[in-house]
């Protein structure tokens, strides 16, 4: 299996905070989750990978070539990003989703090719938003909007999909919808997924590989069973936890333990 993404000894950040010698791999066709307490650098790491934050030391290679050496547009045809806070332009769903085809516009292309429209239609169908493609983004619910963001990323036809907290303010049914969609994309379309998740149990259920970040450093990395242990989680989050296992999947489930009086 090829490495989709290979991060080596990465040091990056901004005044006041930086990532310290991060090294990990993202294997092709895997779903990798980045977890950790608030302020541990998860978003910073993502934004460094996508190029928003410059690299100070170390390297990131995509598909075995240094990312810095690859053209931005070329990368955009292969990597799609769904950020945590997406501004909502006053567009219709269909118009918004079509924007994701921009990396595929040929140099002098001006109008949407039939191919673009076809891809957009297929993806909207796959994601389940065809019914409201003529409505404005601002009219939809939070969950529906998130599906639109997904669709916009998916029309880019990425090999790698990077997401920052895709289920943050969603109810459990929408959470399940989003995670289900991601799983389908991973299995059927062979899309590699790298996402920041704040919910440890979601990370456990849906990811094959986890990266636990604390204070800008990798605390530990590995499959969920290996990472989600009392030892690592209590040290990282500094509260007592109880680990059990999911009745259906047998994957670890994290519960918060009772707070002892001695904790401030």
């Amino acid at each position: 299996m090829m490495n989709m993404l290979k991060v080596t000894d990465l040091i990056a950040g901004y005044p006041g905070f930086h990532l310290d010698r991060i090294s990990f791999n993202v294997e092709e066709n895997s779903i990798v989750g980045i977890i950790g307490p608030n302020g541990s650098g998860k978003t910073t790491l993502l934004r460094t990978i996508t190029g928003q934050i410059p690299i100070q030391k170390g390297s990131i290679s995509y598909r075995q070539r240094d990312m810095d050496k690859q053209g931005k547009k070329e990368l955009a045809r292969s990597i799609a990003v769904v950020s945590q806070f997406q501004p909502l332009p006053p567009l219709k769903v269909r118009e918004y989703v079509l924007l994701g085809r921009i990396p595929h516009f040929r140099r002098w292309q001006f109008l949407d090719s039939p191919e673009n429209r076809l891809v957009a239609h297929q993806i909207m169908d796959l994601v389940g938003i065809l019914d409201f493609q003529e409505r404005f983004l601002t009219e939809l619910s939070g969950g529906e909007q998130q599906l639109c963001h997904m669709a916009r990323a998916l029309v880019q036809r990425p090999r790698l999909l990077i997401l920052d907290e895709p289920t943050q303010s969603l109810d459990i049914s929408h959470q399940a919808m989003i995670m289900g969609l991601l799983t389908r994309m991973n299995r059927q379309q062979k899309i590699t997924i790298l996402m920041v998740v704040h919910d440890l149990n979601l990370a456990s259920q849906y990811c094959q590989f986890l990266l636990l970040l604390v204070g800008g450093k990798i605390h530990t990395q590995g499959p969920p069973r290996q990472v989600l242990t009392r030892e690592y989680i209590e040290k990282a989050y500094r509260i007592p936890v109880v680990i059990s296992s999911h009745p259906l999947s047998q994957r670890p489930v994290v519960f918060t333990g009772t707070l002892p009086d001695s904790l401030p």
Partner: protein
């Protein structure tokens, strides 16, 4: 109604308004005669009124109305803010200041081009200041530019008032009237020059349209779509400022056009920047021709400053559009 149908209607309306503007005035010239005069050489009072008085005004209205609307589209895309218009950034303030200084100091020379040139120079100074102040560590900080621009606007106004208070009555009167905006500037070569510049910038929208669509999503999202955001921002800022500077130098300050027209086009035609700039240009030209014709005829033979009509009409239309949804960029 399909978009293509609406576009055709818009174009027809545009042609109609041009013909009406050429026909209406102190001397009413019927349409067929207008067409005749436009395409043949001739003499006589009707010929001269059309070629020397009305045609330059119409061309100027298209140039300035279209140019300001285009600048409005660009600025609103750049700042992702629906209340930004070409004058928010103080470029017009700089032009007004340039012209005021010209009137106050250079009473000696009066060559026809000195006013537009000084206006343009004033706006260039402001553009340079904004660009340098907003440009830190390799990227253009939009918030800085916006706030700085608003402040520059206030400072320029204060300076213009200062110049007016120390100048003679005639100078003050000239400055005030220039600032109020007028399409009665009769210098044809200058109008043609500005028209070509504006059309050239409009044509360049063909290459920028797709990227403009991307930047609506925000700088980060646009970058993730492969767009070179920094160079795009700089380009948009420069083109839009250039359009504003040109427009203000030849016609004075005609407000509201750059604010209202893009909103209207977004509401009734398209938010897509492959259509928006071109439709806004035509709509802006149309709007200004109508305003100017009204300004000329409402209390004839007295001519109102065109800014009065654009302000009132534009204000009413804007409030109307505000009550519809989806106003935000």
């Amino acid at each position: 109604m399909k978009i293509s149908t609406r576009l055709i209607l818009l174009f027809l309306l545009f042609i109609g308004v041009i013909l009406a503007g050429l026909s209406i005035g102190a001397v009413t010239i019927p349409f067929p005669k207008v067409l005749n005069i436009l395409f043949t050489r001739g003499t006589g009072i009707q010929y001269e009124i059309i070629h020397q008085v009305r045609l330059p005004r119409i061309l100027l209205a298209i140039t300035v109305g279209g140019g300001l609307s285009l600048a409005g589209v660009l600025f609103q895309a750049l700042f992702r803010n629906p209340l930004v218009e070409p004058y928010t950034l103080g470029v017009s303030g700089g032009a007004a200041l340039g012209v005021s200084i010209n009137h106050a100091l250079l009473g000696v020379t009066g060559f026809t081009l000195s006013l537009p040139l000084s206006g343009f120079a004033g706006s260039l100074v402001i553009i340079a200041v904004l660009f340098l102040l907003g440009f830190r560590k390799g990227h253009l900080r939009l918030n800085n530019i916006l706030l700085t621009g608003v402040m520059i606007s206030f400072i320029s106004s204060a300076l213009v008032m200062f110049i007016m208070s120390v100048s003679g009555r005639n100078t003050t009167h000239q400055i005030v009237f220039w600032i109020m905006g007028s399409l009665d500037r009769v210098n044809l070569p200058l109008i043609r020059l500005v028209l070509w510049i504006t059309l050239a910038i409009l044509a360049s929208m063909i290459f920028l349209a797709v990227r403009l669509n991307a930047i609506i999503l925000g700088e980060e999202a646009a970058a993730n779509l492969g767009v070179r955001v920094e160079s795009l921002k700089k380009l948009i800022f420069l083109l839009a400022s250039l359009l504003t500077g040109c427009g203000v130098s030849v016609a004075g300050i005609i407000g509201f056009v750059g604010l209202v027209v893009p909103h209207f086009v977004r509401l009734y035609l398209s938010r897509d920047h492959r259509i928006l700039p071109f439709a806004s240009f035509i709509t802006g030209g149309l709007f200004l021709i109508v305003s100017d014709t009204l300004a000329r005829t409402v209390i004839a033979p007295v001519e109102l400053p065109v800014g009065v009509i654009t302000g009132i009409l534009g204000g009413i239309l804007f409030v109307y559009a505000l009550n519809k949804q989806h106003l935000l960029v």
